[in-house]
């Protein structure tokens, strides 16, 4: 069965500091990995995705993530956090076959940005 673990429930960083959000996954085949952001009361916005190729992927809003197969990890990073980045972040794993509409999500990491 596929699963996603986000070890950090809550992270606080100062504005301008760097950020890394951790994600570990379990999946039986080649994973299709995603990071989403959710502002309070809103739906999910895709930040970036990885299926194959370069293991360092660039996303929107200055985010990037690195896929490490040996560690089953897909950590999200940003070199300099802005106050507007405060939100909840979800890592997800999915398929690209007939089950592509089914993704398994972690329980999220809440990011607080200090001024």
């Amino acid at each position: 069965a596929q699963s996603v673990t986000q070890p950090d429930i809550h992270i606080t960083v100062s504005e301008g500091a760097s950020l890394e959000l951790r994600c570990n996954y379990s999946y039986g085949a080649t994973p299709y990995l995603f990071w989403y952001v959710q502002s309070p009361g809103q739906g999910l916005q895709l930040l970036l995705k990885y299926f194959s190729g370069d293991t360092l992927v660039q996303g929107i809003k200055g985010f990037e993530a690195e896929f490490k197969r040996s560690q089953s990890s897909f950590n999200l990073r940003k070199p300099s956090v802005h106050w507007s980045d405060a939100a909840e972040y979800f890592c997800a794993v999915g398929a690209f076959n007939t089950n592509a509409g089914k993704s398994t999500f972690g329980d999220g990491t809440t990011l607080t940005v200090k001024p």
């Binding site: 999910l44 916005q45 895709l46 995705k49 979800f90 007939t98 509409g101 999500f105």
Partner: protein, 114 residues
């Protein structure tokens, strides 16, 4: 182009009642998935529909059902509501059933069961 739309935005029901949530996918998208997001947790997969047929079902009781219409819009029905059904219900659409296309999520319907 409009994104995924969902209605209503908010809904309050009492235990034992039934509820219907609606979703309109992005134009041209034929696959719709439903997720339940309980407060403090990540979304959990409920159903996937493609070309009006159920293509996947998560670990939810039979009180949950859904359907997809010829215009690819979808409804999620929940019968005999329980307090634990209180959640944000998210709809997501994709162009097709498989492939590398990501899902696009709607803003959700917030269901409160009293």
């Amino acid at each position: 182009d409009a994104g995924v739309t969902q209605s209503p935005t908010h809904l309050i029901k009492t235990r034992g009642q039934q509820v219907t949530l609606r979703c309109s996918p992005i134009s041209g998208h034929k696959s719709v998935s439903w997720y339940q997001q309980v407060l403090g947790q990540g979304p959990q997969f409920i159903f996937q529909y493609y070309e009006k047929e159920e293509r996947g079902r998560g670990n939810f009781p039979d009180r949950f059902s859904a359907r997809q219409f010829p215009n690819y819009s979808s409804e999620l029905n929940v019968n005999a509501l329980l307090l634990g059904d209180s959640a944000l219900y998210l709809c997501a659409s994709r162009p097709s059933q498989g492939g590398h296309n990501e899902q696009f999520f709607g803003p959700g319907t917030r269901l409160t069961v009293l």
